[in-house]
Subunit: 526 residues, 2 copies
């Protein structure tokens, strides 16, 4: 037993050495002494623990994991509103939906995210397959297409993804967050699916009350052609593209010095890039660039420009030209894009403050995406490609904005949809109350009542007002005897009796007229 006591936990070899040095009998005495001493201390501690156990509270860390949050009913009501508008738009465009597991085989995610792979959450190896939490919805979508041999689909997918990033929760950056993705997979004609993705971004952002925005568009092939035209060596295309990607957050001078000092780009090339990335415009600019001597020599650049020309024509037909701007400084971080890329930026007066109270630079993107024709092929054993284009809505930023607006407006957010509250006028009427409530539920009227047996009418009315429940239905002994119920409209305090026989009809009519009045009032307010 004593061999397990820490103070004497020696390996066989060392025990022999010590025994040899101090002699076996001294060693044994020492061991016995230490053991009994340790036992004494352990017993003392155990007694102390027992005493404390009765008084001291159990110590739990009451928190959610770093970078995550609970959603309370108010937040859920906002979230539901945003989701409904987004899903309505996806359905208006005929999209189906799919779902995939929250974790994937680790190897499914390997080699898809470049440097960001270090942010992937792995599951513990508890025997069996090695798993990781999904990092986005695009790679699982590509895996789904390849695995199920789906060669064309228009789908949306709204689900949580996981990144072990440095959280900035007040700016909408979390470790667990929703992505709202819409993608069109299939071999289709030039720019037709791409234009619909941009149309969808404009529809969604317009439907949410978040102020002005603009959708920047560019093309990976144009970027590559431009890099070639500026003398960037082939193997530096991606690193230089990453530098350009920082232009929305950093000044050109810093980006230039990253290119030249860190990434070893020729200063002249950097300056030429500096000229090109200033270009922003529409069809006119594209037509001008198509005549640019240096770009004309680059097949990629011309293909990119031709795509963008068609894209902007389609945007015109979709009535979104006023929202779309061709911007040669847009690069997008992810490696897998192969064609058109786009990003929506809020341009309204959204100023956010970070932890240190400093204003953040730029308002950041609220949607982004592009064409990725190679990703599905990475999963296919024969490398069979499925061209894809898609967009991801940055839903957490939108939540943050909507939540801030809701807080500022001080308008109460309803967290349930209860239409009727059933109240008994006297004591000992609980079963009558239950039966009445049951009748309303059967008629699909959203109804609540107290979980107290006997209640005070005044408290019940107060509750209705606080919770925003528009109608109270009251029964007392006299109402039961007369075969009626009393309806009280909480807003106007108007009361009237209606016969039980057409109670449901009367309640429906009353609710409809309350809704009508509220809608009219809301309209005249705005």
């Amino acid at each position: 037993m004593c061999t397990s006591v820490g103070a004497l936990r020696l390996c066989h070899y060392h025990r022999l050495v010590v025994q040899k040095q101090i002699g076996t009998s001294i060693y044994n005495s020492l061991k016995r002494m230490l053991c009994s001493q340790v036992s004494l201390e352990v017993n003392k501690l155990l007694e102390l623990k027992k005493k404390l156990g009765d008084e001291a509270p159990k110590k739990f860390t009451l928190k959610t994991p770093k970078g995550t949050r609970d959603f309370n009913p108010e937040q859920m009501a906002i979230r539901e509103g945003v989701f409904n508008k987004i899903i309505e738009c996806f359905k208006r465009h005929g999209a189906e939906t799919i779902d995939t597991p929250v974790f994937e085989l680790k190897e499914t995610l390997t080699g898809k995210y470049g440097e960001d792979s270090k942010l992937i959450y792995d599951l513990a190896d508890q025997g069996g397959e090695l798993l990781s939490l999904r990092y986005d919805l695009t790679v699982p979508f590509a895996r789904y297409l390849a695995m199920n041999k789906v060669s064309n689909i228009k789908r949306y997918h709204i689900a949580k993804v996981y990144r072990r990033d440095n959280p900035a929760m007040n700016r909408g950056r979390f470790r667990e967050f929703y992505q709202c993705d819409f993608d069109i997979a299939g071999q289709y004609d030039q720019m037709l699916p791409d234009a619909e993705c941009i149309k969808i971004v404009v529809e969604i952002l317009s439907s949410l009350d978040i102020g002005d925005f603009v959708v920047k568009v560019n093309h990976r092939k144009l970027l590559d052609g431009m890099f070639a035209a500026c003398g960037v060596p082939d193997d530096k295309f991606r690193p230089i593209c990453s530098s350009v990607d920082k232009l929305d957050k950093t000044f050109w001078d810093d980006v230039r010095s990253e290119m030249v000092d860190e990434k070893g780009l020729d200063a002249q090339s950097a300056d030429m890039i500096g000229e090109y990335v200033r270009y922003k415009g529409g069809l006119d600019l594209i037509n001008e660039l198509l005549k640019d001597e240096k770009l004309k020599a680059q097949k990629n650049a011309i293909e990119g420009l031709e795509d963008l020309k068609v894209l902007l024509t389609y945007c015109e037909a979709y009535g979104v030209t006023n929202r779309v701007i061709f911007d040669m400084s847009l690069a997008r971080g992810l490696d897998y894009y192969t064609g058109v890329i786009y990003e929506a930026i809020l341009t309204g007066q959204v100023v956010q403050h970070d932890n240190q109270g400093e204003e953040s630079v730029g308002v950041g993107s609220v949607a982004g995406g592009g064409r990725y024709d190679g990703l599905v092929g990475m999963f296919d054993s024969k490398g069979k490609k499925v061209p894809c284009v898609g967009v991801s809505i940055g839903i957490e930023r939108l939540f943050s904005i909507m939540e801030a607006k809701a807080l500022a407006s001080e308008k109460k957010i309803r967290t349930n949809e209860t239409e009727v509250f059933v109240i008994a006028a006297q004591k000992n009427m609980v079963e009558e109350r239950l039966r009445l409530t049951n009748t309303l539920w059967a008629a699909n009227i959203k109804t609540e009542q107290s979980y107290k047996k006997n209640t005070k009418m005044l408290n019940e009315f107060q509750y209705c007002e606080q919770a925003g429940i528009p109608l109270a239905v009251i029964i007392g002994q006299s109402e039961i005897e007369a075969g009626v119920v009393k309806l009280k409209i909480m807003g106007s305090r108007e009361e009237r009796e209606v016969p039980r026989s057409n109670m449901i009809e009367e309640i429906r009519k009353t609710l409809a007229s309350i809704n009508q009045n509220n809608t009219t009032a809301a309209k005249s307010e705005s």
Copy 2:
């Protein structure tokens, strides 16, 4: 450099020992030799890899993790239908909703699930907090209440939970699965929230087309009182309760032998239990048991019976008595229940086959829950209790049943809601098509069109029929000149021209009348 070669990776001490034994110069020669040999081998392997890389396909395991599945658009359509019915019911009862992260601090889940804790998925320790995937929604709910000091709420929560259990996917048992929970927290009067939970189970199961069912009810206090009356020692209450819990899947003889042979219960006690657990009935049975000499001596038993009496009275008022049966063999597995418990069982002709083609014993539970008044207190530093009662809908089993039914019916499931398909009658009309589609989207009409520039009308009509799109809107040069569009009702093949000026109104009317016809047809069929 060479010190990093595996064959010679020795610690400083051992290197010295080896050098001393074989001499420094021999040691250095040996090291050089080994290093160059290793380099050669490595180079050979690298060359081989390069060769293979060009020919052999990348080898991915294209699968979802064990016990998980993708949902394709058809499955999602079924899932959405089930969810909508369930959420409709929760909202009819005035419930709010919350959300919690998919993972919790590991310690939050520790000590809540007894033996089942071994089924919890842990995340890898990548630095920072130790995390586990949630095992159910009840423990996160209790953590949420304690953390946010919420003392009363009626909420639902629909989200995925994770169990490293042995999956039986064709019987609806997965490692990742949805739970649909409805709970009422708060200090309320006897049985009022409990009765509403049962009412909700009945409403939800009745709204889904899954055949007959019954809700068994029992009470933990009655079980404890009954065990005491049968002479079960206090410390054997929970183990014996676990044995009773198996009665829905095993015969009494096996349960009895588990109690007596494995758990060391007195044979006479076991036989007494055997008598009690046969009781099934309603109010009459409860009134009879209230007079039972042995139970009368047990305070717990009487309290449980009194609760059940009130519960059944309320069930009567809620009109669900025909679905509810008091069953003394119902025990429920989880330790945290403290009062009323219930479980809904399908009683219709649902026969399922497992992997080996054997019929499963019993159809299993599709909903269950009960009162757990102690769980929130486990998270509160002062042990402050919040009484709770709730129910969890076994949504995956319901999905499985609905999916099987859908497959059997061979009726096509629509996976999108597209109402109109826009078709061009001639070539080179893509922009006219986009503009027309855009007008329909702006009017909130769910509209699709081809992603091909030029299409064949016949193919487009075929697509509409396959996808179940009810209406085609056709434009050609002549229609544009005449300022009209052609509407084609896919079902009746009826065509007519309408002027562009009131096109939207005409389309809305046409869609409404198609819906009307479909509803009437569906009704006359059933």
